[in-house]
């Protein structure tokens, strides 16, 4: 019996298997606890989860909405993944996507006398620059002054959110309207639809391009090697001749640029106008997505899809059986906590058999 058990644990500790089994267990745990809460409410959890599944994958329509939710989650998840690999903690994806949405809208609402493609690219570029700058500031403060980037990115999230509120109430407010919203994005700056009959836009394809790009940069370029070495051990990297500050700054800016696409694509592809609080909670979701995705770009895509499905399905679950949407947060949170718990237990108690990564995030120092 004991031998059998230890054989199982050995399998579980092998890198390849644990990379799949750990997130799976975490998600199952989250779903199980949420099921208890759902049952407490007098709803059959299986029924609720069936609604959730159908709501996210049941038809072409629901699938396309799931994919639409997947896009911003994937971009912000990639942003966090990249920053994390470089040893900086970007909790500011939300702020970065807000300022990006703001600047993209700014370019996108004016009919410019230029070809549509150029207009779209300009709007995207404006968002990218804004997002990168918004992330550059905390990166700069961290690199030069040692100010904790977790703190600055979070504070800047709030500033960005109110900045959007300010904009749609003043200079970006639709003329002749009383509601705080921007004018609609003109046709030439909108992301084209790629699946006729649905709302799925070209941003979906951009996700894969950028995921591959992040992967390629991290593991197949010198710059990526520098980023990873700074993330793994800052002092060793410095000793090895890496300009740590420069790498940190660039990593943070690149991370902000990735997060910017979440905001820009949502505005230019889906909502077509800027509203107050148009995306809430993506900063934290992004971290959960990145961690569950094993801080790997492709893993990030998978978990972003899972979270997108959860988010989208939760709406139909709320409508059909009355389970609050916020239960999705509980599932996410418990998944994250149980995953880091499992990894830690494995590393502490089954050290002999443990091969591969450290406790998630243990290489992040906060100074």
């Amino acid at each position: 019996m004991a031998e059998k058990l230890s054989a199982w644990i050995k399998v579980f500790c092998r890198e390849g298997w644990s990379a799949i089994l750990t997130p799976l267990l975490g998600i199952l745990f989250g779903l199980a606890v949420a099921a208890v809460i759902i049952a407490q409410q007098g709803v059959n959890p299986l029924e609720a989860y069936r609604e959730l599944f159908l709501g996210s994958f049941g038809s072409l329509d629901s699938l396309s909405f799931t994919l639409l939710r997947f896009v911003p989650l994937a971009f912000t998840g990639l942003a966090v993944t990249l920053a994390y690999r470089g040893g900086v903690f970007n909790i500011g994806a939300e702020g970065q996507l807000y300022v990006a949405a703001l600047t993209s809208t700014w370019i996108g609402v004016y009919p410019l006398d230029i070809p549509a493609v150029i207009h779209l690219l300009l709007a995207l570029l404006a968002g990218t620059v804004a997002g990168a700058l918004w992330a550059f500031i905390p990166g700069y403060l961290k690199a030069t002054r040692g100010i904790n980037e977790i703190l600055t990115t979070i504070l800047m999230n709030y500033v960005a959110i109110y900045l959007v509120g300010l904009a749609v109430n003043t200079f970006l407010m639709e003329p002749g309207q009383t509601a705080p919203q921007s004018p609609p994005i003109v046709q030439s700056a909108r992301l084209p639809i790629i699946l006729p009959g649905t709302f799925l836009h070209a941003g979906f394809l951009m996700v894969f391009v950028f995921a591959w790009l992040v992967y390629w940069v991290l593991w197949h370029t010198t710059w990526g090697f520098e980023i990873r070495s700074v993330g793994a051990n800052r002092d060793a990297a410095r000793y090895g001749g890496v300009e740590v500050k420069r790498v940190m700054l660039l990593t943070m800016a690149a991370s902000g640029a990735l997060a910017s696409f979440a905001g820009s694509s949502e505005i230019l592809g889906v909502q077509h106008r800027l509203l107050e609080n148009f995306m809430v909670g993506y900063g934290y979701d992004a971290i959960a997505v990145a961690l569950l995705g094993g801080l790997h770009p492709f893993g990030t895509l998978l978990t972003a899809l899972f979270f997108g499905a959860l988010r989208n399905g939760a709406n139909s679950m709320q409508i059909s059986v009355g389970v609050p949407v916020a239960i999705v947060y509980i599932i996410q949170a418990l998944a994250v906590l149980s995953i880091i718990g499992i990894v830690a237990v494995r590393q502490i108690y089954f050290r002999r058999w443990f091969k591969g990564g450290k406790v998630i995030g243990s290489h992040i120092s906060n100074n």
Binding site: Y162, Y284, A326, Y329, G361, S362, N366
Partner: protein
């Protein structure tokens, strides 16, 4: 300009400033204990949210605000135990753990609120903590009204400042706490139980943050909204850093933020021709600016963020 001066000099503004400082002060003082033992507590936001929700719900159902306070203490303690278990025993990354807890608090409070109270357009109100005027002292002009006519949580926050200072710098316990934060190995060698000190301080930190949350609901608005802490946990964390891990510094920092918050609320109410988002932004901008310009490098407890492993060496 005259209007601004009128706001700042009004008694009502000063009282509100103290009241807005309290949630931050409680959370910040608690965090000092945690940080001084070398454990980052970025989960303050979670603890505040759970304290705000827990105290509201228990006060609402029992009809007694003090029951709410008690609930906040208990819930904060339980969350603190969980946080300590993850960061000290399991040695998980302190930031990642906190992020998980923050999402959890957001989800669990929003979900339970809907399950328990439904989605009514009417905002249910709980009983609030009574104002306890302190005899004699409350008769002092100005100061009496500003400082001595508050609820119990406000007094607790203010009292914790000298108390924490005394404990940290003038008792053996304080010495142990600081030793654990600076050099856990050395502390261990001297026979200090590093794990025990960390557990105690983390739990204390979470209980105080939870009480800070309670001061928002039963000690203030008497109703609960989703995510109503709105980043106050992070601002308390910021206050600790630019208060240099010293309770007096934290007091000054949280007062600055509390008064900015009270100020922006009054500016909004004045109906100036300025968009109110500008004022909403103000507390966060002020915190950022102070963080950037007013402090040099804060001296961080040396073992901060690093789990202690006893077996090694």
């Amino acid at each position: 300009m005259a209007a601004i001066l009128a706001i700042i000099s009004s008694l009502d503004f000063l009282v509100a400033g103290i009241r807005m400082t309290t949630p931050l002060l409680l959370a910040a003082i608690g965090d000092i204990f945690s940080e001084r033992t070398g454990v980052l507590n970025i989960a303050l936001e979670a603890m505040m949210l759970i304290g705000a929700f827990g105290s509201f719900i228990f006060a609402y159902y029992s009809g007694n605000a003090y029951v709410g306070v008690l609930a906040a203490i208990l819930l904060g303690g339980v969350m603190g135990l969980v946080h300590a278990f993850f960061t000290v025993t399991l040695r998980c990354d302190q930031v990642v753990t906190a992020v998980g807890e923050n999402i959890f608090a957001l989800g669990v409070t929003s979900t339970l609120y809907r399950i328990l109270l439904g989605a009514t357009p009417l905002q249910p109100e709980s009983p609030g903590l009574p104002q306890l005027a302190i005899p004699v002292l409350d008769q002092i002009p100005v100061l009496g009204t500003v400082l001595f006519k508050h609820n119990i949580l406000v007094y607790l926050g203010l009292l914790m400042v000298p108390l924490t200072y005394a404990v940290l710098f003038h008792t053996t316990w304080g010495l142990k706490i600081r030793a654990v934060g600076e050099h856990p190995q050395a502390a261990d060698t001297l026979g200090i139980n590093v794990y025990l000190v960390r557990y105690a301080c983390i739990i204390l930190s979470c209980v105080l943050a939870s009480l800070g949350g309670a001061s928002l609901t039963v000690g203030g608005l008497r109703y609960f909204m989703d995510n109503m802490t709105a980043g106050r946990g992070f601002i308390a964390f910021a206050a600790v850093i630019f208060g240099r891990y010293n309770p007096w510094g934290a007091l000054i920092a949280t007062l600055l933020f509390g008064f900015t918050d009270a100020f922006q609320l009054r500016m909004q109410a004045m109906g100036l021709d300025l968009p109110y988002h500008l004022f909403l932004m103000l507390p966060y901008v002020v915190t950022l600016v102070v963080l950037v310009f007013m402090i040099g490098r804060s001296v961080v407890p040396r073992s901060q963020g690093i789990p202690y492993v006893r077996e090694e060496r």
